[in-house]
Symmetry: C2
Subunit: 367 residues, 2 copies
Amino acid sequence: MSLPRIAVDAMGGDEGVRVMVEGAALARRRHDQFKFLLVGDEARIRQALENHPNLRAASEILHAPDVVSGDEKPTQALRRSKTTSMGLAVDAVKQGLAGAAVSAGNTGALMAMSKLALRTMPGIDRPALAALLPTLGEHDLVMLDLGANTDCDARNLVQFAIMGAAYSRIVNGLESPRVRLLNIGTEETKGTGDLQDAAALLKRADGQLAFTFDGFTEADKLSRGDVDVVVTDGFSGNIALKAMEGAARFVADLLRRSFSSSLRSKFGFLISRPATELLKHHLDPNNHNGAVFLGLNGVVVKSHGSASALGVAHAVAVAARLLEENLTERIAADLARVGEEAIRTSGRTNGKAAVNPEVAPAAEKRA
Amino acid sequence: MSLPRIAVDAMGGDEGVRVMVEGAALARRRHDQFKFLLVGDEARIRQALENHPNLRAASEILHAPDVVSGDEKPTQALRRSKTTSMGLAVDAVKQGLAGAAVSAGNTGALMAMSKLALRTMPGIDRPALAALLPTLGEHDLVMLDLGANTDCDARNLVQFAIMGAAYSRIVNGLESPRVRLLNIGTEETKGTGDLQDAAALLKRADGQLAFTFDGFTEADKLSRGDVDVVVTDGFSGNIALKAMEGAARFVADLLRRSFSSSLRSKFGFLISRPATELLKHHLDPNNHNGAVFLGLNGVVVKSHGSASALGVAHAVAVAARLLEENLTERIAADLARVGEEAIRTSGRTNGKAAVNPEVAPAAEKRA
């Protein structure tokens, strides 16, 4: 099967063209069927390609005079869709010049441009940003939304569950992923009205779902490997993801500090190097790089701004995998299977007014 | 100075009376001015006290025939305030029989009972649950709210900031703690309207505050030691706290796994035992046990349900410290200093309608 080529925003990310081109080259070395459209400053891309003849042979360059900056507001960036490397990479997907786009630039701008150019799929109100997180189990965890939507209603959450499960089935090869909603407790009465409504809808749709809905989960149980997809609004998801990143870094810092606190510990550390290397490998975000915007008419992958070439290669591989497995068609099929009705129902019970009236006003909603 | 005695709910927590009494005994061994009112099943408390003559000499027992269960709804528990160990421990503070209450029972029930019996302080609309978290810096971080209030408006957040700063000044001895609001980005346009309003209010009140307001922070920056108080709504706070706990446990589990993966690693681990013990000590939640309900007319401390005797002793010491330093009066003084007006202002701009109209509807609010 011939894979559509992948548009790479060569200018995004903290280190820009060098790392992006190196990452694409690494991905290409691993999968020789990959083809690329490298978007950005033509001269600089040509120069970076000099060290990568293999990639050069598999790439075309699309010149873009402009770059979206890291702190640029999405509305500003949108106005420069036709001149920036990010805008043109996304547009290449829209025009059919590429099957997927990968960018390490400004997340908000990428989201806004992708939504405007590619539009959301029929049946999906809002796209969501999904990422893979390491667990103690056999599979990575799919978590969404990670910041694309600050406020989400029950209907959005149900759609996220369907999209996240489709993603998990593709990347983890699971037949019926176990899906949970992130909440501050597992009892039915916990959390916001939207969460309770979403849970009720998913429970009701159980027979038609391409996944198993297991109710609520709390944020300290995400790494245990007993849940495959965790669904949340973008605010909480962003907070949870960053809290986990920060805590992991904190523990690693403490470890480094305590190991260097005595000669004996230093020696112990050196001896156990293979173990700590294993740990480092498992926790290295580059090995989990590549967040996906789900729910668009096209595949867009966000590489972390500080990702290494290895990380970029990983993000490119994610994009290729989603193309190969027809992510968009898969989500469309899952949506059809549940039926419009099951999701539409939430339109009626949408928002805080829908909180179960049996539940006492305030005391019951506490953690 | 003679310290008012501390009411201990002797029946709460996963292990109940044995651990609670052992914890109180440990606290008493460390601080011989501590006096206790032990609330619960009299016969079982008497029995547990047999091994702790020191504690017995400093304690009175208040019999309570009932216990609040871990999964009981707060509204149900409230009805049994007059017969349960938790209810009577809180009531003892109200009646002036004790200066503070410590319980390891059901958080929601403790919150509901404390709020009903002790009422919120003048100028405070809702109490908040605050805890201390370890950092790489010199001081622990104060974080609130951790689950007492699922939804919070700008006015609540400003009040939390004032209370959290007072707490930080007491437990960390800081003159002007650095306070930040938890958000999904540090730019002014990030997050919900309530967060943006709260930031604007705090910025405006800057001269009158007993702390320094430093704007927003993200959840991956909490352990670095460059912020002393982090303010958030109870939903996000609970998610962030649990995400950090889960991630720390995940890394520790991975570490254990990788260290036991080869004989060489095992040997290295043994040699570096002092380092890993130091790490364990730093991360042990028992060394940070004791979350505080701030904003009540009285001191109530929540010990973790699974805390050891050491953890309980820590929670008791927190309660004693807050009594000694007059937490309630301190918060009242800080509120007066800012002036009613500064906080009241948020009444007008409360909620989503107050989002800066210059900010574009959706794209700007993304992470």
